[in-house]
């Protein structure tokens, strides 16, 4: 019995390694080999080891292309991701905390808003219209606030479930000790939210860093490009530089893969919240 089970464990595992490697890793291997080829070889689109391995030269070329556009884009994407995620964490946890602790008449409305934010596709042109009248269309601040508005529902939903597990007695103890609401929240509650905050940071960073649609609509223009938009630099109808295109894909994918390796547990926790109810 045990021997059979051990053999199945090996068999299924080996089969799994074979299938997943073929299906899921081959495209990554393809990206890597393409990124290391010279222009002519890459344009053959073959899946082969490069004859002249020039990964480093290609990466340098990608960063230098169009007056260091990728460098600017990395700076833009970093500002966008860090600022929106920081705002999401603070504003989202404030809402989640108050929503859980205070049973006010507003709660049903707020809950409806939270669900609406998950379901409703944003209305593009009216959003641009509102942003234009506020003077924040085509500005980084505008895009940051957009990412906050669109990501808030998920943040509040994930955080509220966690806030509910923090005992109310802590609040009361802090109040008895003379803490005001801000002290209570930032000194007592916020530090206790650490694990869910890490989850939100990692998951939202992936969403926002990889976002294509919102920067395309709300922050157009080459000077403001985020990393996702730089991919179109090397694609033209006549002479696509496939080696540089794939080097670019490689360069902008690695940060997220590294993030996953370090924060695997939190990503899993965040992405699966909701799958396990009760």
């Amino acid at each position: 019995m045990n021997a059979i089970r051990k053999r199945t464990a090996w068999l299924v595992g080996l089969l799994g390694i074979l299938v997943t490697t073929l299906l899921f890793l081959t495209p990554f291997a393809f990206i890597f080999t393409q990124a290391a080829k010279d222009k002519n070889e890459a344009s053959l689109l073959q899946f082969s080891w490069p004859t002249h391995f020039q990964l480093w030269d290609n990466i340098v070329a990608v960063f230098q292309a169009r007056d260091y556009m990728l460098v600017i884009a990395f700076i833009n994407s970093t500002i966008l991701t860090v600022a929106s995620v920081a705002l999401l964490v603070i504003l989202g946890s404030l809402i989640a905390f108050t929503l859980d602790r205070r049973k006010s008449k507003l709660n049903p409305l707020i809950n409806t808003f939270v669900l609406a934010g998950l379901i409703i596709p944003p209305a593009v042109v009216p959003t641009i219209w509102v942003m234009q009248s506020l003077g924040i269309f085509k500005t980084m601040i505008g895009l940051i606030l957009i990412e906050v508005a669109f990501g808030l529902s998920f943040t509040v939903l994930t955080m509220r479930a966690f806030v509910a597990t923090i005992p109310k007695e802590l609040d009361e103890a802090a109040i008895v000790d003379g803490a005001g609401p801000l002290t209570l929240f930032f000194r007592v509650i916020f530090p206790l939210l650490r694990s869910v905050i890490v989850t939100i940071i990692v998951v939202q960073s992936i969403f926002i860093f990889n976002d294509f649609q919102n920067p395309l609509y709300f922050l157009p223009g080459n000077a403001n490009a985020t990393v996702q938009l730089t991919l179109f630099n090397f694609q033209s109808q006549y002479a696509t530089s496939y080696n540089l295109l794939f080097a670019n894909i490689l360069v902008i994918t690695i940060p997220m893969l590294v993030l996953y390796i370090f924060f695997q547990r939190q990503i899993v926790a965040g992405m699966t919240s909701g799958a396990v109810k009760g």
Binding site: T8, G13, P27, P121, P126, P181
Partner: protein, 309 residues
């Protein structure tokens, strides 16, 4: 709390206690905590959504709007290129969602078994989720190139005949993009299912094993019903994502060839680019109605089934 207080100073607390506790709540959890996030959300999400119901009925230049009744919607439903996008949106949404549910379940069951290299396998299935839709789209555009692409070269070397024009043949372009979407998203569905299966108490499996249940019976009568919360999460999440999908379609086919793989979200972008802001907004409203009309009853139904279990 109030009873302790009322013993200390009877007369005062009997009358003041309720107000004092309301004040206490107000002081501890002030409502303005909702404000900073709420303002951003209402101004940049709720307000545009509400205004979309007006601007969808106008001819609009951002500076000036003329009310034209249902003209935008009539145009949308009569233009083959536009109405086709509605059909494509539904096909794309249900196809990707259904496939993610089925494949995610199968993968999760396998990856929950005590097999070798489980951690590695789980990571590898999840990797595509971390790559941006643009990166995935451009990579597959190259892999699926009709003449030089790796996939078709493989097909030619095996079968001897030419492979299909995955993204260039109008009959299969949408299905190809859906396939890429499934490749990219199945890792997330799998992850959710793994969490759902892990949450099933071990006693069920032990009891079934004692009763001599086969693996299939365990899957059919324990895993399948008890991982239902995970199933409903996967269905809802992937359906919302699928119906709203834009990034992947735009970076692989741009809705083409012709209008063959246009979905509502790509039509909204095209009309916006062309300067037809009213029509674009009408597309947004139609997408809103489609998503809400499907997701709302579906999630209620799934929830009611969940409470029955």
């Amino acid at each position: 709390m109030t009873s302790v207080q009322s013993r200390a100073g009877e007369e005062l607390t009997l009358t003041r206690a309720p107000r004092a506790s309301a004040q206490h709540v107000d002081k501890t959890y002030p409502l303005w905590f909702h404000l900073p996030g709420g303002i951003v959300y209402i101004v940049l999400f709720i307000v545009p959504t509400l205004f979309s119901f007006y601007f969808a009925f106008t001819r609009w230049t951002l500076f000036k709007s003329t009310f034209i009744g249902f003209e935008n919607f009539v145009l949308f439903f009569n233009e083959p290129g536009l109405i086709g996008s509605l059909k494509n949106t539904l096909i794309y949404g249900f196809l990707t969602s259904g496939a993610k549910v089925a494949l995610g379940m199968v993968l999760a069951v396998v990856l929950s078994m005590p097999i070798i290299a489980r951690g590695y396998l789980r990571s590898v299935t999840f990797f595509p989720v971390l790559v941006s839709a643009v990166g995935v789209g451009l990579t597959f555009q190259v892999l699926l190139d009709p003449y030089n692409g790796v996939v078709n070269k493989l097909i030619t070397s095996v079968t001897g005949s030419d492979g299909p024009g995955w993204l260039t043949d109008p009959n299969i372009a949408l299905l190809s993009v859906a396939g890429i979407d499934i490749w990219k998203g199945v890792g997330l569905a799998t992850l959710i299912y793994i969490a759902g299966i892990a949450a099933i108490p071990n006693e069920y499996f032990e009891a079934a094993r004692v009763d001599g249940a086969s693996s299939w019976q365990m899957f059919r009568h324990i895993i399948l019903p008890l991982s239902f919360p995970a199933t409903s999460t996967v269905i809802i999440l992937s359906l919302i994502g699928g119906l709203r999908s834009f990034d992947l379609i735009w970076t692989t086919t741009q809705g083409g060839p012709g209008f063959a793989s246009d979905v509502i979200a790509s039509v909204v972008y095209k009309q916006y680019q062309a300067g037809f802001y009213g029509l674009s907004t009408a597309g947004n409203v139609i997408l809103f109605v489609v998503v809400a009309a499907i997701i709302y009853p579906l999630s209620r139904w799934l929830n009611s089934k969940e409470t029955v279990l």
